[in-house]
């Protein structure tokens, strides 16, 4: 449950085995190349980088294009059975397939274009079906011309302006933007009238000479023509399909092999070469180093050796390693940003607090188990990353539901915790409160208490990290350091004891030692850091700058203490809102009335009500929980500036 320890590894070998080594690295899948580290720093600059033209790229692209034309779905497969072994054999095979499908593809394109053209004409003719006249009759006219087409609806009324011109526009159809029709015009005036039509944005449709009959009949002709072309197209598709079935496995193997060769050839640029030897530096998880070194040494002359490195200077990549319970929550940590190598993995802390907060805010046995079940199904059938998280938070919801005594909103099945005599008497009630709203103040106080505890734990984590990273100023004098912890903790504890139990703790010693002194330490953090911890050597401090910085620091910390703490009230708020929503469901179903019986209507209302509550409130609570994690908790100890561990691999996308 931590950040994987990394080993800086130098891989060396003979240049002629470089491709094999790279392939092995990809195969083992735990080696991240580190280009920022000079692999051969001790050789006084005699190293060279391999700059070569990648001859596999062209063949990879050709194989990809063939597969695309044949509709073959490409993915990585084992290509050990492929009988093509060198460039000339790849070339011969791809050439053969290209020739075979080339003519078919050309014909397919021609047919597709033709079908598009005919479909466009058909679309236009469909708007002319109101016309009963035979096209061929119109084409025979000697003194009159015809213009079929459409005019924008905006221009159509303007035709009235030309009522004195010798043309008629007969509209057949209209939609929001166009009016379809035919314009009759005298041959000797066609130039002028064409200009008029053009000025009104008339778009002409050319009617092919082979169309006979009226528009309805022409449509039938067009439909038949499209069918014929479509059939020819289907035939070609069938032949392509046959080739596809025949070749798909071989194509996948060829593509996988070429892609591997192509990618590994590209990775050759990572190597530094001296003479006949190459060197590549990179990081390998420490626990996998032995396996990695063994794999590399299986290649003739290749070795992998661990190198020492300074963690602060060379920031290694981050790979989180958590147990099965916490692992799904790594997704949230990735969303925020990975930790620094010298930091801590916040995943377990996030997982525990998120599960706790969700359960508190959305406590219901039935709904929780349902969410859990839904999470299981999502995990099993959809492999969704949220599935395992839902499973865990659902169980937490069910657990807290036992305390709230809520099962799908029914509060009579399990006795709520505040109905236990010892509990309600402790809270100062003489008889059991009727519902959770009567103990709302305690719910909110508990929420605040949880918030304070989480903030204090986050500060402790920050102190630990700061000491680990040798940021002594932050660890001791920071807002989230020892000074901040004492200040915040003593104010909260003092207030709780004074107001809650009547124990007056704010005496001069308490105030001076636990409140004023830490506050002064935060106020004077920067000059004290310079004096005590020898930091900020370049900074010049004046009285004004000390007061200014100190005041801002104090103001910011006071605001953040207050807002972060108050923010946790929402936890209590959601407890009450959940109870409120379920009360509404009970009212709508009529089950809150005296002597009500549980009929079909009530069942229906409860199912719909529960579905809505799970959908809306479950979603809200999960977001609010994450918000509390990221804003109120992470902001106190976590910066998320680490870089992810990305081992060498062959990308097939």
């Amino acid at each position: 449950m931590a950040i994987e320890k990394m080993s800086l590894v130098s891989v060396a070998g003979l240049v002629n085995t470089l491709d094999d080594v790279i392939n092995k690295c990809c195969e083992i899948g735990c080696f991240q190349v580190e280009t920022s580290i000079d692999a051969v720093q001790d050789t006084q600059g005699h190293a060279r980088v391999l700059v070569e033209s990648n001859h596999y790229s062209v063949h990879t692209k050709r194989a990809y294009n063939i597969a695309r034309n044949l509709g073959v779905d490409l993915y990585a497969v084992d290509y050990s059975a492929l009988e093509l072994n060198d460039i000339s054999e790849y070339e011969e095979y791809t050439q053969k397939i290209e020739t075979e499908i080339g003519d078919l593809a050309d014909n397919k394109k021609k047919l597709s274009d033709k079908i598009s053209e005919l479909s466009e004409i058909k679309l236009q003719i469909e708007h002319l079906v109101g016309m009963k006249t035979d096209f061929s009759q119109l084409f025979k006219c000697e003194t009159i011309k015809f213009r079929f087409g459409r005019i924008p609806t905006d221009s159509f009324p303007k035709l009235e302006y030309y009522s004195d011109q010798p043309f008629i526009f007969k509209a057949f159809n209209q939609d929001e933007n166009y009016v379809w029709g035919v314009c009759f015009l005298p041959k000797n005036k066609s130039d002028v009238i064409d200009q008029i039509l053009e000025s009104l944005y008339f778009e002409r449709t050319i009617i092919p000479g082979y169309l006979q009959g009226n528009p309805q009949e022409a449509l039938e002709t067009l439909t038949n023509l499209i069918d014929i072309e479509q059939k020819a197209l289907d035939d070609i598709d069938g032949r392509l399909e046959d080739i596809s079935v025949e070749e798909e496995q071989k194509l996948r193997m060829l593509y996988s092999k070429l892609k591997a060769l192509d990618s590994s050839f590209d990775m050759r640029r990572y190597a530094s070469v001296i003479g006949n030897t190459f060197y590549i530096m990179g990081f390998v998880p420490k626990r996998l180093f032995e396996t990695f070194a063994k794999g590399i040494s299986s290649i003739n002359g290749a070795t992998a050796a661990e190198k020492e490195f300074d963690e602060m200077e060379t920031e290694p990549p981050i790979k989180l390693r958590n147990n099965r319970i916490f692992r799904p929550f790594e997704m949230f940590v990735n969303m925020y940003g990975l930790p620094k190598y010298s930091g801590i993995d916040p995943t377990p802390y996030l997982a525990i607090t998120y599960i706790l907060l969700f359960g508190m805010m959305f406590g219901d046995v039935g709904q929780g188990l349902l969410i859990s079940l839904f999470g299981l199904l999502l995990t099993k059938y959809k492999k969704a990353a949220l599935g395992p998280i839902m499973t865990r938070i659902g169980l937490s919801s069910a657990f807290f539901g036992i305390f709230y005594g809520s099962v799908f909103g029914f509060e009579s099945i399990i006795k709520p915790i505040f109905h236990h005599e010892s509990v309600y008497k402790l809270l100062g009630y003489s008889e059991a409160p009727e519902n959770i709203f009567q103990v709302a103040i305690y719910v909110l106080l508990i929420a605040l208490g949880v918030g304070v505890a989480l903030i204090l734990i986050s500060m402790l984590l920050n102190i630990k990290i700061a000491f680990k990273q040798k940021r002594l100023g932050d660890a001791v004098l920071g807002v989230n350091g020892i000074a901040g912890f004492l200040l915040y903790g003593s104010v909260i504890v003092g207030a709780a004891l004074t107001m809650g139990l009547g124990i007056k703790v704010f005496n001069p010693v308490y105030v001076i030692l636990l409140i004023l002194l830490p506050a002064l330490a935060i106020f004077l953090k920067h000059p004290l850091e310079a004096k005590v911890f020898k930091l900020h050597h370049d900074e010049k401090f004046t009285i004004g700058s000390i007061i200014g910085m100190g005041f801002l620091e104090m103001f910011e910390s006071a605001i953040s203490y207050l807002s972060n703490t108050v923010s946790f009230l929402r936890v209590g708020g959601f407890v009450l809102s959940h109870a409120g929503m379920m009360l509404v469901v009970a009212q709508l179903s009529g089950m809150n009335k005296e002597g009500a019986t549980f009929g079909i209507g009530a069942l229906f209302a409860y199912i719909i009500g529960n579905a809505i509550v799970i959908g809306i409130e479950g979603f809200l609570v999960s977001i609010q929980g994450l918000r509390l994690e990221f804003y109120e908790i992470f902001s106190r100890f976590y910066d998320g500036s680490g870089r992810p561990f990305e081992p060498l691999s062959i990308e097939f996308n």
């Binding site: 609806t153 905006d154 303007k158 929001e176 944005y201």
Partner: protein, 351 residues
């Protein structure tokens, strides 16, 4: 209660429309298009114009069509908003219709003066035919001032411009219609009646806010007129006085006279910087004054749409913004047609 609901509906809908308007990123994409077809295609993909251009084939689309469709969309947005108000009882809400009518009258005069009255036909938006208080087809047939007046007979516009009938010269030829006199007279009456309608028909706070909004617009319009006529064309103060709208908000009479006395761009700029509108503005120069005014007006309208609680003000401001958006798209289309560099087109846009 009902009034409040209507008001809320208009304000909410107006803000939703503003939220869909073209963004700076959209404009950036548009100015980098290579043809009008590409512009149409891009606009068709935006949330703002998806519906307006849904059924058109952008491949065969003419620029005039795009402009007409966008113009129609502006008017349709107005109609969508105005249906929440009893428009018949409040002539104030017909402001956009009145402005469109004035714009078409001015277009018709422009084409008559240019000797190309036929061109007016293609330019006017047909959707206006069913709303306008005069026949646009008949207006397109007008060949001179008398015919124009005859078409406008019975409307307030005829009375406003009849005194600007062009005089005949000694040879009996008619002079051209005085475009600017007609324009100033029509818009002066437009703004005055708008103010009066706001005062008579709107609530006190809406009327006050509306008055401020309208008078600011008039101030900017007058400043642009003064700047152009005095500095660019060197016209006399007497002539300029006749060409400005006799209303003002933050420009005092003495400030106005002070501006009219300036001769050069530098002098005018120095004098303008003293006005309340430019006191906090970054350094003004010859080329940026007009742009600065338009940008100020633009951001003022955006603020009103976002912040005002008066539905008439929100609606009026939104329509100004949509009009500006239409002008921006027209500028982009023209710029691309004439092969201007994207940076040049960008300078002309008001965002």
């Amino acid at each position: 209660m009902l009034y409040d609901l209507q008001t809320n509906s208009i304000v909410a809908k107006a803000r939703a429309i503003l939220g869909r308007c073209l963004t700076a990123e959209d404009y950036k994409q548009l100015i980098n298009r290579k043809s009008v077809v590409e512009v149409a295609s891009y606009l068709k993909g935006t949330e703002r114009f998806r519906k307006a251009l849904a059924n058109v084939n952008e491949q065969s689309m003419h620029r005039g069509q795009i402009e007409n469709l966008i113009n129609r969309d502006v008017f349709e947005n107005y109609e969508r908003l105005v249906k929440y108000e009893p428009i018949d009882s409040k002539s104030f809400y017909k402001f956009i219709l009145r402005r469109q009518e004035i714009a078409q009258i001015m277009n018709a005069i422009m084409y008559i003066n240019a000797g190309q009255p036929d061109h007016f036909l293609a330019s006017f938006p047909a959707f206006l035919m069913q709303h306008a208080s005069f026949s646009l087809i008949e207006l397109a047939k007008a060949r001179d001032f008398e015919q124009l007046l005859a078409v406008l007979a019975g409307t307030p516009y005829a009375k406003i411009i009849e005194k600007y009938a062009p005089k005949q010269n000694s040879a009996g030829e008619r002079a051209k219609i005085n475009f600017t006199d007609c324009e100033v007279a029509l818009y002066a009456t437009y703004y005055q009646s708008l103010l009066q309608d706001a005062k008579d028909q709107l609530s006190k706070s809406a009327a006050q806010e509306m008055e401020t909004t309208i008078l600011r617009a008039v101030d900017f319009r007058n400043l642009i007129t003064i700047f152009r006529m005095r500095v660019t064309f060197g016209k006399s103060p007497e002539l300029i006085r006749k060409r400005i709208i006799p209303l003002s908000y933050k420009i005092t009479k003495s400030q106005l006279e002070g501006l009219l006395k300036q001769n050069t761009a530098d002098e005018m700029t120095t004098e303008m910087v003293k006005l309340a509108y430019f006191r906090t503005a970054p350094k003004l120069d010859w080329g940026s004054i007009e742009r600065s005014m338009k940008e100020q007006a633009h951001s003022y309208y955006i603020t009103l749409v976002r912040m005002s609680v008066n539905a008439p003000v929100v609606m009026y401001s939104l329509m100004q913004l949509l009009e500006q958006e239409r002008q921006n798209v027209t500028i982009i289309i023209e710029g691309i047609r004439y092969g201007l560099a994207p940076a040049e087109i960008e300078k002309m846009l008001i965002l």
